[in-house]
């Protein structure tokens, strides 16, 4: 199923999602999960240096939006952006290669895990300073509006991000200009190690702020790919038609720590276990089985995903480190880094 079709399907998915889309949602979630798990293994083997922020447990959101978006729509995401970047169709070897600091990395090793970008697939960057990419997404949406291209910008961020100034500025700006941008807050209950409720004046950090920008409050179960997909289609479509921005709060949970260094000991006992019961992949697999999808069909998807991850891993491992000569490349559009003549 090529991405063009995806877009058209999505727009039509007001009622029943349809089995083809369902399988696509499952495939995407499985790929994101397997790839993140592989990233974790590669850490343990010390093949990934630096930091890394996994989305284990949050895959349904990236998958749902990935399937719902038109190929020429734009994604803006955070340092926790492996899933969102992959969900747009970025090369898995490019992602793993970047995490490993290899030449084949999406960014040639220059950016690292926090800055995954694949412009060709509409993944317009991962931003590691909290809040910064919200206004940038608004700007892309402005460009779509200006050119009448019908493109939509989708911007992912966490619950903790709702307390920084740039969030406020971007939301007001987008609302006033009626920009085609969908802001998606993935509320996983924590900023880094601090529970979001301890630092936020309202229970729903995004939804309870929507009214401040004249927007409706939208809350969705971010562990349910179908529900999230429906919401994604609805608000992307609305934005595309000139209906302006949306602010969606997707409730979810990260299974691992904030980043590589974090054992997540701050979680109350039983919390993880409770959420593991609501693992989006488990839920979705059961649902598909209930809807009559054959065990073999799902197994095929899973095996294909695993092969893809294995191949990507092999490619990335085989790739050399980037050349030292690259250091002074690509500061400027002329390809160089010269600041003097």
């Amino acid at each position: 199923m090529d991405t063009k079709t995806k877009g058209r399907k999505a727009a039509a998915a007001d009622g029943d999602i349809g089995n083809e889309t369902r399988l696509e949602l499952y495939r995407s979630q499985v790929e994101l999960r397997y790839c993140e798990k592989r990233a974790y293994d590669l850490f343990l083997q010390n093949l990934i240096k630096g930091t890394s922020h996994l989305s284990l447990g949050q895959e349904a959101i990236a998958a749902a939006f990935g399937v719902a978006m038109r190929p020429d729509d734009w994604t803006f995401c955070t340092y926790r952006g492996h899933a969102h970047t992959l969900a747009r169709g970025a090369s898995m070897a490019g992602v793993l290669g970047e995490l490993m600091g290899r030449e084949c990395g999406l960014l040639g090793g220059k950016g690292g895990s926090m800055h995954l970008t694949d412009v060709e697939h509409g993944a317009m960057g991962s931003y590691a300073i909290i809040g910064a990419h919200l206004p940038v997404a608004a700007g892309a949406a402005w460009s779509a509006q200006y050119r009448g291209s019908g493109q939509v910008a989708v911007c992912f961020f966490g619950d903790g991000t709702t307390n920084i100034g740039a969030f406020h500025e971007a939301l007001n700006f987008s609302a006033v200009w009626s920009l085609p941008v969908v802001f998606v807050c993935e509320n996983n209950l924590y900023m880094e190690y601090t529970p979001i409720h301890a630092v936020t004046a309202v229970p729903h950090p995004a939804a309870d702020r929507a009214g401040a920008y004249g927007l409706e409050a939208v809350i969705v179960d971010g562990n349910d790919a179908d529900e999230t997909y429906r919401v994604a289609v609805k608000y992307i479509d609305r934005a595309r038609k000139g209906g302006g921005p949306a602010l969606i709060e997707a409730k979810t949970y990260r299974h691992s720590g904030h980043s590589r260094a974090d054992p997540a000991k701050y979680r109350p006992e039983g919390e993880l276990e409770k959420w593991l019961e609501r693992d989006p992949l488990v839920i979705y697999r059961e649902r598909l089985r209930g809807l009559g999808f054959a065990e073999g069909t799902l197994k095929d998807v899973e095996e294909a995903a695993m092969r893809k991850v294995d191949e990507a891993t092999a490619t990335a491992k085989a790739s050399p480190p980037p050349s030292v000569a690259d250091i002074e490349k690509n500061v400027w559009a002329d390809g160089g880094a010269a600041w003097r003549n």
Partner: protein, 325 residues
């Protein structure tokens, strides 16, 4: 050649580029209907309409973020930050996002955008509306930095900045808005990264920027007439890229370097140039490198204080007489 004010040269430069390229859009606070608080963008909304010339909320992060997002998706925005002091409220977007994104994405994202801003002192506005912060920008890899001294350069360098494929921070000295100068008729596009030698002398090379260029020129005249000291004056015009060729070759000719900077002393652009000269022209220097800067204080507001804080013509004359002979 028409005579234009520095202020009108801004609007002329923007208009020239908006006329030739649909992708050029302009946004900022009070820039459209009101024509800007310095009246530097009067007439643009009438000419290009509210779709291309847009008033924004007081949201500098959103303004520059929007410019960045638009630039990466095919537009060529010009964003105004009313006073350069306010760059501090959106410094993340400038220094961490706009400047770094091309490099971090290994060239995938390009950001052809211009940030215009009113820089510098002389208007008794006090320390939060008078700073010269071009050195803040110069310190950040990935953004070009331009600061014109004359109306012709305003128009020509602004046009060049708009056509440049990289982000450019364009500092307009607010005390110069009312000054006048000849500007070439018709399309006028200059080149980034070229300093200009405004005057040749034998004893000393004065390197200056923006408002300080005017004071350096006046000082050079006095030094020549009244004290027999003959100075070269170089207008740097562009800090990044920096025209080290011109600067170094002019220093070699006179054997002395004096920088005249409006910024507070520490880490000013003059320090950078001094360090380059002290390395690359060491054997050509006939005496110490002198930096004339604002003392390292926030800028005071009262006229008497402000005038005695920013380097004046008299101070330039005095320091050169004392230190260069």
């Amino acid at each position: 050649m028409a005579e234009l004010t520095y202020r009108d040269a801004v609007a002329a430069g923007i208009a020239q580029e908006m006329e030739r390229d649909e992708r050029v859009v302009f946004l900022g606070e009070d820039v459209a209907a009101p024509g800007g608080v310095f009246k530097a963008t009067v007439g643009l909304i009438e000419k290009f309409g509210p779709k291309r010339v847009r008033d924004c909320p007081i949201s500098e992060q959103a303004i520059l973020g929007a410019a960045m997002g638009a630039a990466m998706t095919g537009l060529r925005p010009i964003a105004e930050i009313m006073f350069s002091d306010f760059l501090a409220v959106c410094w993340d977007i400038v220094a961490n996002e706009i400047a770094k994104t091309r490099y971090m994405t290994n060239g995938q994202i390009r950001l052809p955008l211009v940030i215009r801003t009113a820089n510098g002192g002389g208007s008794r506005f006090g320390a939060q509306h008078s700073q010269s912060v071009e050195n803040w920008a110069m310190a950040v890899p990935g953004i070009k930095v331009v600061a014109p001294a004359f109306p012709a350069d305003v128009k020509g360098l602004l046009a060049a900045a708009v056509r440049d494929p990289d982000p450019v921070l364009f500092f307009e000295q607010k005390s110069l808005y009312a000054t006048k100068g000849e500007v070439p008729d018709g399309e006028h596009v200059d080149q980034l990264g070229k300093a200009r030698v405004l005057r040749q002398g034998k004893d000393c090379t004065i390197v200056a920027l923006a408002l300080m260029v005017h004071r350096a020129l006046a000082a050079a005249e006095l030094l020549e007439k009244e004290h027999g000291i003959s100075c070269t004056v170089v207008d740097v015009r562009s800090l990044v890229p920096l025209d080290t060729q011109t600067i170094l070759s002019e220093v070699v000719k006179t054997g002395r370097l004096v920088t005249v900077e409006e910024n507070p002393r520490l880490c000013g652009w003059g320090a950078e140039i001094a360090s380059i000269v002290a390395d690359e022209c060491f054997w050509d220097l006939d005496g110490p490198i002198v930096r004339i800067t604002t003392p390292h204080v926030p800028l005071p507001s009262a006229d008497q204080l402000e005038d005695n804080t920013i380097p004046s013509v008299e101070r330039v004359v005095r320091e050169i007489r004392e230190k260069v002979d």
